[in-house]
């Protein structure tokens, strides 16, 4: 499978975002909270992307904000994936009551809109990063559960799984040695999508004032801080918005590529 142009761009941009997040303290021209200019200064040689509501350098905040945004999104997607796929596989392999109970719990969780659940949960719990990650991860795991269950339902009836069961292998063994490797490709593609949704979800929560709390910064919170300038043509809020969009697009491009790669692996004519 050759690397397409769009996938190449996606990988390049994603790598750039991740690297700048990792090396934020080395790259950022100014510290996170230092006031270096006036309110909403236009981009200049000194502040490449201008300054924000209280005169902090936007580029520096974007780089540090990327750290938080990417970390929280990644961590919560990992939680969503571990939880969702494990229980999804379990439901598929055991079937019967286990499947019924798990599926109905997920139905229950999905039946209440997640912004509302997040609003309620986050107003009860202390607002810090671990709580935020856990809440997003658990809420998001329901979707992964659905996918993992559907995918592994197909796999669970395959001959080689039956064979393993007849051999007397334990359910955990079946899940990790037979189902997981075969369900991995669609799950990896889904991981990309979940990551993007996590980025958007954190941004939305921060926008509602329930996400990442100051003095930490994330991109959604930065949009919120600067949004009032938008209708006066101040570009400050557009920078973090563009960063969210750019990250989402580049991860999407990679996910698309992985997805098309897996379909061609299945022996289709390719798309």
């Amino acid at each position: 499978m050759k690397l397409t142009l769009s996938a190449g761009i996606g990988i390049l941009l994603t790598a750039m975002f991740v690297l700048s997040a990792i090396f934020a303290p080395l790259i950022a021209p100014y510290p996170l909270d230092l006031t270096v200019g006036g309110v909403w200064d236009a981009p200049s040689a000194k502040n490449w992307l201008g300054t924000d509501t209280i005169g902090r350098d936007i580029l520096s905040r974007l780089i540090y904000g990327g750290q938080i945004t990417i970390f929280v999104a990644l961590a919560s997607s990992v939680i969503a994936f571990s939880l969702g796929s494990f229980f999804g596989f379990l439901a598929a392999v055991r079937g019967g009551w286990t499947d019924q109970i798990l599926s109905r719990i997920v139905d229950l969780m999905m039946a209440i809109p997640s912004p509302i659940v997040a609003l309620v949960l986050l107003s009860v719990l202390p607002l810090n990063l671990p709580v935020l990650i856990l809440v997003i991860g658990v809420l998001d795991s329901t979707r992964v559960f659905r996918l993992a269950r559907a995918v592994s339902m197909d796999i669970a009836v395959m001959d080689y799984v039956e064979a393993a069961k007849l051999r007397g292998e334990g359910q955990i063994w079946v899940i990790f040695r037979e189902i997981l490797p075969n369900a991995l490709s669609p799950l990896v593609a889904e991981f990309g999508l979940r990551f993007i949704f996590a980025v958007l979800f954190i941004s939305t929560l921060s926008f509602l004032g329930l996400g990442v709390q100051p003095p930490l910064a994330d991109w959604g919170g930065m949009v919120k801080e600067n949004k009032d300038g938008l209708i006066y043509g101040k570009s400050a809020a557009l920078m973090p918005a563009a960063a969210i969009a750019a990250l989402a697009i580049s991860v999407n491009l990679v996910a698309d590529w992985v997805l098309s790669r897996t379909t061609s692996l299945k022996g289709g004519r390719g798309a």
Binding site: I54, L122, S123, Q213, P214, K227, D228, G229, L230, I231
Partner: protein
């Protein structure tokens, strides 16, 4: 040429000559269109109130949980709503005088412990019933009742006996109070037929507008009350409140003309909004203040040296500049500013002094463990930034002040008045006595600094009954100094009320009492 201009301008203002025609004429005379528009606006305003039309206000501070019961009004929209359909005995004028509304005349006994209000004759409620002294007493009783949930309960509790005779209402107080008429101007005390006992949320009053539509958290619509007793206010045929809590949407609605006035312009954008066409920013110095409060009875804040160290460790001007965007004034650790009658402006403002703060801190013998300042974003706008600034300046003086972030939700029940040190705000009161007796007397219902000082209490009570203004001012000066030097209140700033008003609105007056011309912005303005 000048005469021609004046003549044309007058005709334009009266609507007999077209705006476009006037601007074109100005262009011919070398006057810019912008200036021409300003000239028209000025001329139109000078023409006096115009009747008719529909005025809309975009107001932040309303929820779908709001009630029409004036006793329960606690946020901005319910306040403006009851000021529009309701009428009180008296109002307070922008310069701090009593404005007679349903009462025509107020008098008191020599020691200010007995007050008499004569009720205006022939005023009707919206349902056609006549306003009587009986209704007034019933209303006050509803608010003072043991079972009442009224926000005015604490205010009217000092009335020990109320009675009426003919058109006179007599109030006997538990102790003398020279400010009683001001207390009657409280926005909860809307006079309702039969006191509103049967249906407190009926929305029937004697105000300048009748309630037409009530969709809590969305919009409240009114039509003119044709039988209103005072012709000098209530100009538009219809007025409407749109509840717009989002700052950006509210500002956009003002700029696009969807609303004529708005409250709570974010200080950040005030400068930008000034540049927008057709819009003016009206910033009014009010009595509201943003504060950090310490409980004087809990360690380590029971030590006055520590309290003083913290008071000296805050940069007040920086707060005003950065948190209020310059739209406000510095506070001096007592809750009174120049917007109050009898304010003593000779008390020197407290300055940031790291050396002195460090000295007081050392003297307090504090063990150096972190001093936690609790704050939530909703404590007041910019509260978290303000707390961080405070922590930075205090740390520079060697005080281990740390900010602890709390969630907005439940802040007023779990943190404020519970934790010993947190951020809060006060909206201010019409007179000094009300402010002090609401929050700083030992017996005050909302003594959120747990300040208990007998000398202070005696002075406040003495000033309350004092009818001699000179003496009273001296007493209030002493009161202020005690609180400033010993109290648990750190008051770094007084915030302005910042409004956005479109050019079409005439009759706007800066009123320090409350936002939106003391809640009567829709009632007292007109469309030009």
């Amino acid at each position: 040429m000048q005469d021609e201009m004046k003549h044309l301008l007058m005709r334009t203002a009266r609507g007999t000559f077209s705006r476009r025609g006037f601007i074109a004429r100005c262009g011919a005379l070398g006057i810019s269109a912008a200036l021409a528009n300003t000239l028209i606006a000025q001329a139109v305003r000078a023409e006096g109130p115009k009747k008719g039309g529909l005025i809309r206000a975009g107001i932040a501070g309303g929820e779908s949980t709001n009630s029409l019961d004036p006793a329960l009004a606690a946020s901005e929209v319910p306040f403006v709503t009851s000021e529009t359909w309701g009428e009180m005995l008296v109002n307070v004028t922008p310069d701090g005088k009593v404005d007679m509304r349903l009462a025509e005349e107020v008098s008191s006994s020599a020691d200010a412990s007995e007050w008499t209000f004569r009720i205006r004759k022939g005023v009707e409620f919206h349902d056609g019933k006549t306003v009587t002294a009986e209704d007034v007493v019933a209303t006050l009783k509803r608010h003072t009742d043991e079972k009442s949930q009224s926000g005015a309960l604490g205010i009217v509790q000092g009335i020990s006996e109320m009675s009426y005779e003919g058109d006179m209402v007599k109030l006997k107080l538990a102790g003398p109070n020279a400010d009683l008429p001001f207390l009657m101007a409280d926005y909860h005390l809307v006079i309702q037929p039969g006191g509103g006992v049967d249906n407190p949320a009926a929305g029937i009053g004697a105000g300048p507008y009748k309630l037409e539509v009530f969709e809590p958290g969305v919009r409240i619509g009114f039509t003119k009350n044709p039988n209103y007793f005072d012709d000098s206010i209530g100009h538009a045929d219809q007025v409407e409140i749109l509840v717009i809590n989002d700052n950006t949407a509210r500002t956009a609605a003002l700029q696009s003309g969807q609303v004529h006035m708005m409250n709570r312009v974010d200080p950040k954008i005030a400068e930008l909004l000034k540049g927008a066409p057709g819009v003016q920013v009206k910033s009014v110095a009010g009595r509201g203040h943003y504060v950090f409060i310490m409980h004087c009875d809990k360690a380590p804040f029971d030590n006055n040296d520590l309290r003083m160290a913290l008071k000296l460790g805050i940069k007040r001007q920086e707060m005003v500049d950065k948190i209020l965007g310059g739209l406000g004034s510095i506070g001096n650790d007592f809750p009174i500013n120049a917007a109050y009658p009898l304010f003593d402006d000779t008390i020197p403002p407290r300055e940031y002094d790291a050396a002195q703060a460090a000295e007081f801190y050392k003297k307090s013998g504090h063990d150096g463990s972190p001093i936690l300042l609790r704050v939530a974003p909703g404590a007041f706008p910019g509260a978290v930034d303000a707390a961080n600034l405070f922590a930075a300046s205090a740390q520079a003086a060697g005080i281990p002040l740390q900010v602890k972030l709390e969630p907005d939700d439940g802040y007023w029940s779990n943190v404020w008045n519970v934790e010993p040190f947190c951020a809060s705000y006060w909206g201010g009161r019409p007179v000094q006595d009300q402010m002090y007796s609401t929050a700083y007397l030992s017996t005050a219902d909302w003594n959120d600094t747990k300040f208990k000082n007998a000398t202070f209490d005696d002075l406040v009570l003495a000033a309350r009954g004092e009818l001699d203004e000179v003496k009273r001012k001296e007493e209030y000066s002493k009161v202020a100094n005690i609180l400033r030097d010993e109290g648990g209140l750190i008051c770094p700033m007084f915030n302005d009320f910042v409004h956005g008003v479109r050019d079409e609105i005439g009759g706007w007056i800066d009123d320090p009492n409350q936002e939106l011309m003391n809640g009567r912005g829709l009632v007292k303005t007109w469309l030009v």
